[in-house]
C-alpha cells in the first residue's frame, strides 16, 4: 500500500540520522529529557512535511527541522527567555584578537579535557554552540549551515569566527584562573 511505502521510505531516510538529530537537540536543550521531546516532535513534523522534501541531503533538511522544533519548544516552555542573543558587535570581537595576541605556547589546547570543553561549550551563547556543532561535529559546509539556520552564508562565516573566538576567550580565562589558583 502506498502509505506503507511512504512510511518505510521515511524510516529508511530519517532513522540513520537519529544520533545526529539527538546530539544537536541535546546540545541545544541541555538535557536528555527535553532533547528527546524535541527530536520526537521533529520526526513527526518531518514525516508530516515529508512530501516537501525536495531531495538533496536529508540530514540537512532534518537538522533544520530539529532546530525549528527546539525554537518552538523554548517558546512553549520558557516564554520570555531570550532565545538567540544579539550578535556581539565586530569591534568587540576584534578586541579579543588584539588584546591577546595569538601565542601558541599560552594556548595549550591539547591539555584541555573533554569535561572542561563541555562546560565551556555550555557557557557559550546558543547560536555559537549550535554553529560549532554543525561545523565540527556534523562536518557541514558553510552553505549547509546557512540552509539549516536560515542565515546568509556571510553571517555563517562571521558567526563561526566569533564562536571560535568566544571559546578561545573562555579557555584563556579558565587558564588564567587556574594559574592564579595554583599560585
Amino acid at each position: 500500500m502506498a502509505l506503507d511505502d511512504r512510511k518505510r521510505r521515511f524510516e529508511v531516510l530519517a532513522l540513520p540520522h537519529l544520533d545526529a538529530a539527538f546530539n544537536l537537540a541535546r546540545w541545544l536543550a541541555g538535557n536528555t529529557t527535553d532533547a528527546e521531546d524535541v527530536v520526537q516532535d521533529a520526526y513527526l513534523r518531518a514525516y508530516r512535511y515529508f512530501s516537501s522534501f525536495q531531495g538533496g541531503d536529508f540530514r540537512v533538511w532534518l537538522l533544520g527541522i530539529v532546530r525549528n522544533c527546539f525554537i518552538d519548544w523554548v517558546r512553549e516552555n520558557r516564554s520570555g527567555r531570550m532565545l538567540f542573543q544579539a550578535e556581539p558587535n565586530a569591534a568587540e570581537v576584534e578586541t579579543v584578537w588584539t588584546a591577546t595576541p595569538p601565542d601558541p605556547e599560552a594556548l595549550l589546547l591539547e591539555t584541555l579535557d573533554s569535561q572542561t570543553l563541555e562546560r565551556m561549550m555550555a557557557h557559550l551563547p546558543l547560536e555559537y554552540r549550535e554553529i560549532l556543532l554543525l561545523r565540527e561535529v556534523e562536518d557541514l559546509s558553510y552553505k549547509e549551515i546557512a540552509t539549516i539556520t536560515t542565515t546568509p552564508i556571510g553571517t555563517v562565516m562571521s558567526r563561526l569566527s566569533r564562536a571560535r573566538l568566544a571559546l578561545r576567550k573562555l579557555w584563556l580565562g579558565a587558564e588564567t584562573k587556574e594559574a592564579s589558583h595554583v599560585l
Binding site: L3, R6, K7, F10, E11, L15, L18, D19, A21, F22, N23, R26, W27, T32, A35, E36, V39, Q40, D41, Y43, L44, Y47, R48, D72, W73, E76, P101, P102, D103, P104, L107, L109, E110, L112, D113, S114, L117, E118, M121, L132, L133, R135, E136, V137, S141, Y142, M157, S158, L160, S161, R164, L167, R168
Partner: protein, 251 residues
C-alpha cells in the same frame, strides 16, 4: 595583501573552504607572516580540539522505536475531502468498517439535498473519517496536561482541553485536523460508546451562542468564543451533545 584583510580568508583556509588560487596565495602569505601563521595554527587547534574532544550524545535506546510507533498510520488528510467519497474508501480499505461505511452510504442516499451546508458536511466528513481511517488521535491520552501543550505547539490556537470524565465525557486525546479549509485541532471525547470530535480553529469573529444542527444522522453544536470557532460533532443524541458543548464552552 594586508593581514587585516587576510583574517577572514584564514578562517576559510582553516575550514578547507577556500578554493584555488586564493588558497595558494593565503597559504603563501601565512608561511611568511608569523602573526597570520600563529592565527592559522590556532584556528586549526580549536577545530581539532572540538572534533576530537567534544563529547557527543547518542540517541537513547528506545527512542527510534518510540518515534516509529508515533508516526501516524496515514498521511494527513487532504483539506475538505468531499464526504460522499468516504464510504467507497471505507469499504475498499477495511472490512471492519464496512458496516459503518454501509450505514454512511445509506445516509448519503437518504440525505435530502435541499439543505446542503458545505461546512456542516465537511465537519461530519471529518468526524466520520476519524472513525474510519484509524486516525482518531495523534496524541492518545486522557491527560489534558499532555493534550493541550501538544496541540498548542502545533497550532496558532490553543483550544481548552478539559477532563470531563467525572461528568461522563472522558477525554481520549487529540489530533491535528483540516476541516473546511481550516487547520485546527480535534479534541476527542467519548460518551458511552460514542465518539465526540470537538473541532476548533482560529476565528476572529465575535462570541456566539450555541447553535444546534443535525445532518446525515449526526448532531453538530457550533459556537464561537475567545477567537476560536468550535464544532462538536457526534452521533450521541442532541441533548447530550448540547450538554457537552455547555461543559466545554462554559469558560
Amino acid at each position: 595583501m594586508s593581514c587585516e584583510r587576510m583574517r577572514p580568508l584564514l578562517v576559510r583556509l582553516a575550514d578547507g573552504a577556500l578554493p584555488q588560487p586564493r588558497r595558494y596565495f593565503v597559504a603563501r602569505h601565512a608561511a611568511h607572516c608569523s602573526q597570520c601563521a600563529a592565527r592559522l595554527d590556532e584556528l586549526c587547534a580549536i577545530r581539532t580540539m572540538l572534533r576530537t574532544k567534544l563529547p557527543t550524545h547518542r540517541a537513547p535506546p528506545g527512542l527510534a522505536s518510540r518515534i516509529v510507533a508515533a508516526l501516524p498510520r496515514e498521511t494527513p488528510p487532504a483539506p475538505s475531502r468531499p464526504w460522499f467519497r468516504i464510504p467507497a474508501f471505507g469499504i475498499a480499505s477495511s472490512g471492519m468498517f464496512g458496516a459503518l461505511a454501509g450505514i454512511a452510504l445509506t445516509l448519503v442516499l437518504l440525505h435530502d439535498g435541499g439543505r446542503d451546508d458545505p461546512t456542516l458536511r465537511n465537519l461530519i466528513g471529518g468526524h466520520v473519517r476519524s472513525l474510519m481511517a484509524e486516525h482518531l488521535m495523534d496524541v492518545a491520552t486522557s491527560d489534558r496536561h499532555t493534550v493541550k501543550p501538544w496541540l498548542s505547539a502545533r497550532l496558532d490556537v490553543s483550544p481548552p482541553v478539559r477532563d470531563l470524565a467525572d461528568v461522563g465525557f472522558p477525554l481520549l486525546g487529540g489530533r491535528l485536523e483540516y476541516v473546511d479549509g481550516h487547520k485546527g485541532a480535534a479534541v476527542v471525547y467519548r460518551r458511552a460508546q460514542h465518539i465526540i470530535n470537538l473541532f476548533a480553529w482560529a476565528d476572529a469573529g465575535p462570541n456566539t451562542g450555541f447553535r444546534e444542527q443535525a445532518q446525515q444522522g449526526f448532531n453538530v453544536v457550533s459556537w464561537r468564543a475567545g477567537g476560536i470557532a468550535y464544532h462538536a460533532v457526534s452521533d450521541v443524541n442532541s441533548d447530550e451533545l448540547a450538554a457537552f458543548a455547555r461543559l466545554v464552552g462554559g469558560t
